[in-house]
């Protein structure tokens, strides 16, 4: 029972991270209609930036806020300078640019900060004794913090989309860009804000996952998170915020249970479980569980 609870907690924690990055993917998809392959590496880059700030003896919370701002600016700049010029041609070009950014941002992070593993400090208390016992299982504060961050972000995004003008315009552009344009919505600004927002969400995912991850902060830290997050976004239908969260949690928990209880999967086949889920979803329900019937343009 304790073991089960601990695996459940691990699954929920990892799942929250996947959900965060999946939310970033969904925000871009709703605006631009493509999967941003560079989302994970963008998060990696901003996390390196946050780590670098902490080595300059800047408090970790300030470093995190700075990395969120950097994520927003970087995301908006990428949309404006790289995505928009090629999008007029076609959607495939956007995918290729995103793939280029994937390798580009990774190499750039390596070039600036080196390829050796860094220790990103956690914003939450994460000593060996910083836990509460729940039914015999240890619930660490830093894991709790990640779940809390996801809940907080969901609330913020829901408020943004439902009650603000920018949110209304983002939904309008996602729904029918031409109609939104005809109503006077500044579509290009809205798209840049969407990419910026997803850059900031990704940055949050990055600074939260690296202190928890056994790999810490290295150039490959985000690969698995990105793959799991893509599976989560796909699970939810790529355009649903709720779907992305449900998808992320589901994949996190499934993964923890599969690696824990199915002995031949173990640690080494962990990544395969996300891949398996992607294939299964594409096969059984191409629009995901929460997706609208609009076609996926990837």
């Amino acid at each position: 029972m304790e073991l089960f609870l601990e695996r459940l907690i691990t699954g929920l924690t990892n799942g929250s991270i996947y959900a965060l990055l999946a939310l970033a993917l969904v925000v871009v998809f709703r605006g631009t209609g493509t999967l941003n392959f560079a989302q994970g590496e963008l998060a990696l880059f901003t996390t390196f930036f946050a780590w670098w700030l902490t080595t300059e003896s800047i408090p970790v919370w300030i470093a995190i806020i700075a990395s969120l701002i950097a994520g927003f600016v970087l995301g908006a700049l990428i949309e404006r300078l790289l995505i928009r010029p090629v999008q007029r041609r076609n959607d495939m070009a956007v995918l290729i640019v995103a793939l280029g950014l994937f390798t580009g941002l990774n190499s750039l992070a390596g070039l600036i900060w080196g390829s050796e593993t860094k220790i990103m400090p956690s914003p939450f208390p994460n000593g060996i004794d910083d836990f509460v016992s729940v039914g015999g299982a240890r619930l660490y504060f830093d894991a709790l913090g990640v779940v809390g961050a996801l809940v907080a972000l969901m609330i913020v995004l829901t408020l943004l989309f439902r009650y603000t003008r920018v949110g209304l315009h983002m939904r309008a552009v996602a729904d029918n860009a031409e109609s939104a344009t005809l109503a006077g919505v500044r579509t290009s600004r809205i798209l840049a804000i969407g990419w910026g927002l997803s850059g900031a969400i990704g940055a949050l995912a990055g600074v939260l996952v690296t202190p928890l991850s056994p790999q810490q902060l290295g150039l490959t830290s985000m690969f698995h998170v990105f793959i799991a997050a893509s599976a989560a976004a796909l699970f939810g239908g790529l355009d649903s915020l709720t779907g992305a969260v449900v998808g992320g949690i589901t994949i996190g928990v499934l993964e923890a249970m599969l690696t824990g209880y199915v002995s031949f999967i173990g640690g080494s086949l962990q990544q395969t479980s996300a891949l398996f889920i992607i294939v299964a979803i594409l096969f059984l329900r191409p629009n995901g569980l929460f997706g609208t019937k609009r076609l996926v343009r990837v």
Binding site: L168, R171, S179, A180, L182, V185
Partner: protein
């Protein structure tokens, strides 16, 4: 002086021009109807004015050059109801109307306009919290008109408003458009294939043929011109 003045307008898609230098005027409070067969360039004219596609030539509103970006056009007081209605299908009826007020900052004015248009189109009031995609074709057309009116335009462009609607719904829609024109003095520029019905509303009619203006006049002149009548009105 005319409200909207178009001189030698060229526009098209890619390198191919669809409009080969058309000129047109809409006076304040007037109803102008543009007739023409499929492919004559009616929709292209509307999209060029609205700023959805590039254009060459002169387009002036109140004697001032009209901006080429869609938000500039809306901001200047011209609003387009696109062909096919452009419903924001996943948004509620209420949100559709609020998007129509994208450029306005007067919250109270927006609220009172929403109230007004949901009275003019009672079905929108009854369904204000429903997803717009679930409305019928006629209801979506009314929503499209109401959304366009939310920007308080002085000139409303309607691209084939009758397309795909039952005759009785079309009649109702045209009646409402006519009432809005009379009550608010909102000028209308309507593109239609349903020539007879549109001409009942019109002060001036233009006939578009393969990207040029083939004829212009009052509805009475059009109906009495045998050549035009047999070629374009079909009786």
């Amino acid at each position: 002086m005319s409200l909207l003045s178009i001189r030698d307008l060229h526009a098209g898609y890619g390198s191919a021009d669809v409009l080969h230098g058309i000129s047109m005027d809409v006076d304040a409070g007037q109803v102008v109807v543009v007739l023409g067969a499929n492919g004559a360039g009616k929709t292209t004219t509307m999209r060029a004015i609205a700023g959805l596609i590039g254009r060459r030539g002169t387009v002036e509103l109140d004697g001032k050059p009209l901006g080429k970006r869609p938000e500039q056009v809306v901001g200047a007081g011209i609003s387009l109801v696109p062909q096919g209605r452009g419903t924001l299908g996943q948004l509620t009826v209420m949100d559709n109307l609020r998007v129509g007020a994208a450029l306005r900052d007067d919250k109270d004015g927006v609220a009172s306009d929403i109230e007004r248009w949901t009275e003019v189109f009672p079905v929108l009031g009854r369904r204000s919290h429903q997803i717009a995609g679930s409305l019928s074709g006629g209801e979506q057309q009314m929503l499209a008109v109401a959304r366009a009116l939310m920007s308080r335009p002085r000139l409303l462009l309607c691209d084939e408003p009758s397309l795909g609607l039952a005759p009785i719904v079309v009649q109702e829609l045209f009646d409402t458009l006519s009432q809005i024109n009379k009550a608010d003095g909102t000028a209308l520029l309507i593109v239609e294939q349903n020539a007879e019905l549109a001409m009942d509303l019109a002060d001036t009619v233009y006939l578009l043929d393969v990207g040029t203006i083939a004829a212009t006049g009052t509805p009475a002149e059009f109906r009495s011109d045998d050549a035009v009548r047999s070629a374009y009105l079909g009786y």
